[in-house]
């Protein structure tokens, strides 16, 4: 039944979780990427919550967004006192949207990332040094194939649902077209079938910010100083796209940071400047600049509308038994509701079972990450209505 409790507020209720690793595609059985390049061995970092049922029919795959990681809920055993829980802690745990008393929830760091899964900062076995730009260009499709390998390893041959926001939503859609028989339901959130020129433009500005930093050194910086300045500017522009005009007006307006008057210079005057610089400096501590380049490019290449066969598009899964729940947010200007509507139109034309909810929220694209009772209630109830077999 619909969960009306305030369980979404119970921080860390998913419990203590450990990051696990799975390695496959050992040479000579390397993975052939969409680009034709081969890669291997590949290590996938992942975390799980809840228990896999005896029938193995209760698995939920959570696909993280561009800068996310496998740590979707709970705490690590060695977390300090003031540590924050996983990035979707309000959604994963007992009685939450993804109820860990019912579902076995899996989240894996994406291929090309830098949080434990093989990416440009990993060691290239051929040289013994980090890949840098020798890492082959990977696609959203390659990310899905790596997740499929992980599910095979875990003995999971069907998913109760696959869910994700933003770039995670693209992975959801890619799962549906690649493995329509494996997916019983799909929840793409705040996402798109393909980037608009606006989204590509912001990504390109972010990439340029990194690549013009002399310390980037054509991606070869792992044994020297890192391109922190470029990466933090990239994060600043990214962060603006995740917010909204309304949210920024409400949060910052034209307020000044710790001062009563302008400095008439280029130090921080406005609160919003201070906030963005803080977000930028926080990001460089945990993220790899080359991973930003690879992942943003993979997101820009993603296009579910125009595909050269044999690559599958939505029309190819016509009439499949997948139940879709598409969710958008009113103030998302990175993937506005009209893009969710284009997706819904395509799903309707392909005779697929689709529900849609546009959640009213002023916090922009990142709204799906902000604890909100509505999202958990909506998704929890939707999942109850998805047949298990």
């Amino acid at each position: 039944m619909v969960n009306n409790s305030d369980s979404y507020l119970e921080v860390g209720s998913a419990g203590v979780v450990e990051k696990q690793f799975f390695t496959y595609a050992e040479p000579p059985d390397q993975m052939i990427l969409e680009s034709g390049a081969s890669l291997g061995p590949i290590t996938i970092a992942y975390e799980t919550w809840g228990k896999l049922s005896a029938k193995r029919d209760n698995a939920v795959l959570v696909a993280h967004a561009f800068s996310g990681d496998s740590h979707a809920a709970g705490f690590y055993p060695d977390d300090p006192e003031d540590a924050k829980p996983g990035w979707w802690d309000s959604m994963i745990g007992p009685g939450k949207g993804f109820d860990t008393d019912k579902y076995f929830v899996i989240c894996a760091n994406i291929l090309g990332g830098c949080m434990g899964t093989t990416g440009p900062s990993s060691i290239n076995p051929e040289t013994g040094a980090p890949f840098g730009l020798d890492f082959p260009m990977m696609t959203v499709g390659d990310i899905i194939e790596s997740q499929k390998a992980l599910l095979d390893h875990l003995g999971i041959s069907s998913l109760h649902t696959v869910v994700g926001g933003s770039v995670g939503g693209m992975q959801v859609l890619e799962w549906c077209v690649r493995y329509p028989d494996l997916v019983r339901s799909a929840i793409p959130i705040a996402t798109t079938m393909r980037h608009s020129a606006l989204a590509i433009a912001f990504n390109e500005v972010a990439r340029q910010a990194i690549m013009v930093d002399p310390k980037w050194n054509r991606g070869n910086y792992y044994d020297s100083e890192k391109p922190d300045l470029g990466l933090s500017v990239a994060r600043m522009i990214g962060h603006v796209t995740y917010l909204s005009d309304e949210a920024m007006r409400r949060k910052f307006g034209r307020k000044l940071q710790n001062k009563a008057n302008f400095s008439y210079g280029f130090d921080v005057d406005f609160m919003v400047e201070s906030y963005l610089r803080y977000q930028g400096s926080k990001f460089v501590k945990r993220f790899d600049a080359n991973s930003v380049l690879y992942i943003t490019k993979a997101a820009d290449y993603f296009d579910l509308v125009n595909r050269e066969p044999p690559a599958k598009s939505i029309q190819d899964i016509r009439g499949m038994k997948i139940k879709f729940l598409v969710i958008s947010y009113t103030s998302d200007w990175l993937y506005p509701t009209y893009q969710a509507k284009e997706l819904i139109q395509a799903l309707k034309r392909a005779d697929l079972d689709v529900s849609f909810c546009e959640i009213e929220a002023d916090c922009g694209h990142d709204a799906f990450l902000i604890p909100d009772k509505r999202l958990g209630t909506l998704i929890g109830g939707f999942l109850d209505g998805v047949p298990r077999n």
């Binding site: 619909v2 729940l325 529900s355 209505g385």
Partner: protein
């Protein structure tokens, strides 16, 4: 899943539900909290889809296992392939539609049959108000003033029948009912319906 009992459902919806064949594919425009769809799912194994503009209502339906799209049905109906549904239902909303002829044409395209119900503007109480008071009528069914009413279309049972005849819609079922606004009880009006019925319900098939 919600399990509404027949007698809890609005009376016009009870009539509509009785017309639906088991196992059919149904689209409910302006489905509200999904009472009709849930009833049809449970009692007639109908595979239903709803369209609802209100976020809270759409989310309620989805969280109860119904397939519902939040949106404006005037736009949403255009995306479906021809004859995608066995029945398309538009209950108590036709009087609020800006382009009824265009909408009904879309319904006849995407559905094998469509069903409409609407408040009858020629009910005797409405006629009397206009005749005796000389003012735009108000009623339980149509409680608004001329300047704030969402009910922009004045429809009578007779008007609708004339319209159906003129555009080539065959009326396969019709029932005139007397029921209070949003009530779950009522009665079927057999004689002088254009004068005595508060609502009309019609099932239409497009003539080939």
């Amino acid at each position: 899943m919600v399990f509404p009992e027949t007698e809890q459902m609005r009376f016009d919806l009870q009539v509509i539900a009785s017309w639906i064949d088991p196992g059919s594919r149904v689209l409910d425009l302006g489905c509200g909290h999904g009472e009709l769809l849930a009833w049809l799912h449970v009692h007639k194994q109908v595979s239903g889809v709803g369209i609802e503009q209100d976020e809270e209502k759409a989310a309620y339906c989805i969280a109860n296992g119904l397939s519902v799209l939040q949106g404006d049905f005037n736009d949403e109906v255009d995306d479906y392939p021809d004859k995608r549904f066995d029945y398309v239902i538009l209950s108590q909303t036709l009087q609020q539609v800006y382009e009824p002829a265009r909408l009904l044409y879309s319904l006849s395209r995407i559905g094998r049959r469509f069903i409409v119900s609407f408040p009858n503007f020629s009910h005797y109480s409405i006629r009397f108000q206009l005749l005796l008071k000389g003012m735009a009528p108000k009623s339980e069914e149509l409680p608004y003033n001329w300047y704030d009413t969402p009910n922009i279309r004045v429809i009578t049972l007779k008007d609708f029948k004339n319209f159906a005849r003129d555009v080539g819609y065959r009326i396969v079922e019709e029932t005139a009912i007397k029921t209070d606004h949003h009530a779950n009880y009522g009665s079927v009006v057999k004689s002088l319906s254009n004068l005595r019925a508060t609502y009309g319900i019609f099932m239409i098939e497009k003539e080939a």
